[in-house]
């Protein structure tokens, strides 16, 4: 940290909040609130005279509130930059610090927050994680029993710079504990609180146990665990070393801690699974290894940066395996636990990767983006005719569309990620997506439904999930009906209502509307637009009197090849259950209604031409087919 601060090209801004992020890759405009420290950075020399003079003491957050700090303080002795800070919530304005500071005149009570705007090329988010508060789990008595502590409190107690100068003592009586228990998975792997594994706690509790054993060899240390997870290099050896040192491992999650109210001794009741017996053991002190959870303001940060969150609240990466350090927004990268709980080696690796990714942007004059961006036809946009609309701008998950009434909507190409939500939503067909134009997709639909359309199942799949699911069904050899015909678009948000109307007008037997599960969407809220539209269509088709099951909505992930195959087979079964005459009659009955929905279709640029060409191709194909027969 000190090295980083000394680097002339690195500017460290502490006590600063990000208020707003605008712009796009290479051209971000970031608004920062530099909170006032009431100490002038250009004058403070870090002598600490103000702290000595300050008469106010408040709990020290850095020491997990185990020790006090003054109202004039630095959070920790290694703070970078070493500039003192006055806690205005605690200060009584006695001005003793001003006197103590003397001729340096670094303390300035008239300071206010400063709003600064910076031009930024790339952003690396490294906001870290927070800890689960175990006091909500009444069975472990944290907060009620003084000798039940958290892992962070243990960390401070065991630290030579900590409140006890490294002496490990019981909070109830200040005596060194003879035997300590560590309980793992407190609030993690627990569906009542956080269902996921916190990744590093197994190693963390072993580390703490070894530290305790090294500093106080006489101490008896027991670790309660559900499973010990030591998957990385050297980790299992570390676990071995802990057992060699005499640390006891008990498999079994304790159900309860009770306390002797006079001696504050603790009793852990838990099934020792290997013994198959419930055993109650007595301890002087118990450490709870709390779950890692997202920062409390993670949601706020996520909306400031416009990056999505995964289930559980962590920031969502572009791709979990191939691009774990990239956010879905170009130019924003993740390092460390803000993207998901990780240990130090993984955080360092991701941080270095993110820095390398960011430097690619800083060193290039041009930036390549996905070619599937949206383009507006200004002459068709109703906003240009001074009508109020803005639907595209509201649909865009990346706020990449500038909409002002009276002017045609404008796509900021560098911000566009090519989901096609705006294209799918635009009621006037005034916007299109390169490589997924209406003309191209309609031509595909026509060709796929050229012969015997009533027997076909047209499957609209999104690129990231359901297309992957279909692919997996194929590579895994999950058999599904050969009557399925697939069309890929980037996101379910692009699946225009027109495509589905056109498919039914052409006489398609069934249509599948498929995409990612809502929490997996690669375009933040793309699936939400798609899902809303699909449900609207479902109601419309129900009202038209379409047989149930001919239009189906399914969210299928790339890992659910079996589900894809099952859905298609079920659709085939539904189709088979309708007598052919009844199906034909239904298609004919609905055809005019579908056609009525599509009156504007031929006016979309390129569509008529594409359809004419498709007709020619179909004609040729049919002739060839007939010749063969």
């Amino acid at each position: 940290m000190v090295d980083a601060a000394r680097q002339p090209l690195i500017e460290v801004k502490t006590f600063t909040e990000v208020e707003k992020v605008e712009g796009f890759v290479g051209n971000f405009k970031v608004t920062l609130r530099e909170k006032s420290k009431y100490v002038r950075a250009d004058r403070c020399n870090g002598c600490g005279a103000c702290t000595k003079a300050c008469p106010i003491e408040v709990p020290n957050y850095f020491e997990m509130n185990l020790a006090p700090r003054k109202a004039a303080y630095v959070p920790m002795s290694q703070s970078v930059p070493l500039i003192y800070n006055i806690d205005m919530d605690a200060c009584i304005h006695c001005y003793k610090c001003v006197e103590a500071c003397g001729a340096l005149e670094a303390i300035d009570f008239s300071m206010t927050d400063k709003i600064v705007e910076e031009e930024i090329g790339a952003i690396v988010v490294a906001t870290g994680f927070s800890h689960f508060d175990p006091s909500v789990m009444s069975e472990y008595g944290y907060g009620r029993f003084p000798n039940v502590i958290t892992s962070m409190e243990m960390e401070r107690l065991n630290n030579s710079a900590g409140p006890t100068h490294g002496a490990l003592v019981r909070p109830s009586d200040g005596k060194p504990p003879k035997n300590i228990a560590f309980i793992n998975c407190v609030g993690s792997r627990d569906k009542r609180y956080n269902p996921s594994c916190s990744n590093f706690c197994c190693m963390y509790s072993i580390k703490n146990a070894i530290l305790v054993k090294q500093m106080h060899p006489g101490t008896d240390v027991t670790i309660y665990y559900i499973d010990i997870r030591t998957p990385s290099k050297g980790y299992e050896e570390f676990y071995d070393r802990a057992r060699e040192m005499g640390i006891k491992f008990v498999q079994g999650r304790p159900s309860e801690i009770t306390e002797d109210s006079e001696t504050h001794q603790l009793f852990i009741t838990g099934e020792d699974i290997t013994l198959g017996k419930v055993v109650e053991r007595e301890f002087d002190m118990v450490m709870l290894n709390q779950a890692a959870i997202p920062q409390p303001d993670q949601n706020q940060m996520s909306s400031v940066l416009s990056v999505a969150q995964s289930p559980g609240g962590w920031f969502m990466e572009y791709h979990p395996k191939l691009r774990p350090m990239d956010s879905p927004t170009d130019g924003i990268f993740f390092a460390g636990a803000c993207q998901g709980p990780k240990d130090i080696p993984a955080s360092v690796a991701q941080g270095s990767a993110a820095a390398a990714r960011a430097s690619r942007i800083l060193h290039s004059d041009e930036w390549h983006i996905e070619p599937t961006v949206a383009v507006v036809w200004p002459d068709r946009c109703v906003s240009a005719q001074d009508k109020s609309c803005g639907i595209c701008s509201r649909a865009c998950p990346y706020s990449a569309i500038d909409y002002t009434q009276g002017k045609a909507a404008e796509v900021i190409t560098a911000k566009c990620h090519g989901c096609g939500a705006c294209v799918g939503e635009c009621p006037h067909d005034s916007i299109t997506q390169l490589h997924y134009t209406d003309a191209e997709i309609l031509a595909q639909i026509r060709t796929l439904l050229a012969t015997e359309p009533e027997k076909k199942i047209l499957a609209l799949r999104c690129h990231w999930c359901s297309y992957g699911g279909a692919d997996l069904a194929g590579t895994s050899h999950f058999e599904y009906s050969a009557n399925e015909r697939g069309i890929k678009v980037m996101c379910s948000a692009r699946m225009d209502a027109d495509f589905i109307y056109e498919a039914y007008r052409l006489g398609a037997g069934a249509v599948l509307f498929s995409g990612c599960h809502p929490q997996d969407c690669h375009y933040i809220t793309g699936q939400v637009s798609g899902s809303k539209r699909a449900n609207r269509l479902k109601t419309i088709f129900e009202r038209m009197g379409m047989s149930p099951g001919r239009f189906r909505i399914e969210w299928i992930s790339a890992a659910e090849g079996d589900k894809y195959a099952r859905v298609i087979n079920e659709m085939q079964a539904t189709l088979d259950a309708i007598p052919p005459e009844a199906l034909k009659e239904e298609i004919e009955r609905l055809r005019p209604e579908m056609a009525r929905k599509l009156t504007r279709l031929p006016n979309i640029p390129g569509v008529q031409q594409a359809l004419d060409q498709t007709d020619e191709i179909i004609q040729l194909m049919t002739e060839l087919h007939m010749e063969k027969v």
């Binding site: 309860e256 009741t269 099934e271 198959g276």
Partner: protein, 195 residues
């Protein structure tokens, strides 16, 4: 999933019954067993975690013979403690129902009815927490075909609620906790106290 599952498997049958849905989610942490009042106080062989394992591994005979299957009173102390939100007593009840279906008998004593004195008032039916008692038309010597209280031994947990509620002392537990024995104990105790 795409591969058809064998619905004859014990685990599948347990999952199909209400309460047994999340059977496969158990990662064997042992919280239920250590939360349970029975193992430390009554029967060291009692272990809900082991019963779940037996159901998961289709060990049908072991599961049906397991003391856990028959002793659980569904107090649900373990349910809120389970980190996987498995309704453990629901699983145990499902296993028990399957055992009874296959003709297994509750090895523990269940309440017995004196059909000669039962007046079919229905108090025992009202108070039974396990819905184990019902009024059934029975042929009783000297009384004809009349409704009398009948205990389903597959459901009875021998708690004695019915016995306490019965106004004609016609229903009671067979061993040790029979009304007569309790009253005799009481008298003996009072006599001791008096002396």
């Amino acid at each position: 999933m795409s591969a058809p599952t064998d619905t004859n498997l014990l685990s599948e049958r347990v999952k199909a019954l209400p309460g047994g849905e999340f059977l496969m989610m158990c990662y064997s942490c042992g919280t239920c067993t250590s939360k349970c009042m029975i193992q430390p106080k009554l029967d060291p062989n009692y272990n809900p975690r082991r019963l779940i394992r037996e159901a998961v591994f289709e060990m049908e005979a072991e599961a049906f013979a397991d003391t856990t299957t028959w002793l659980c009173s569904a107090c649900d102390l373990c349910y809120p403690a389970c980190p996987q939100k498995i309704h453990i007593s629901g699983v145990i009840n499902a296993v028990k129902a399957l055992a009874v279906e296959q003709g297994w008998k509750n090895p523990n004593p269940s309440a017995v009815v004196d059909i000669f004195t039962c007046v079919a008032c229905g108090m025992c039916v009202e108070v039974c927490p396990y819905q184990a008692v019902s009024l059934v038309e029975t042929k009783v010597a000297g009384r004809g075909l009349i409704p009398v209280a009948t205990v389903d031994p597959g459901k009875c947990m021998a708690c004695g609620m019915c016995s306490a509620a019965c106004r004609s002392t016609s229903i009671s537990l067979p061993t040790r906790h029979h009304d007569k024995e309790i009253i005799a104990d009481l008298w003996a105790f009072l006599a001791e106290e008096a002396a």
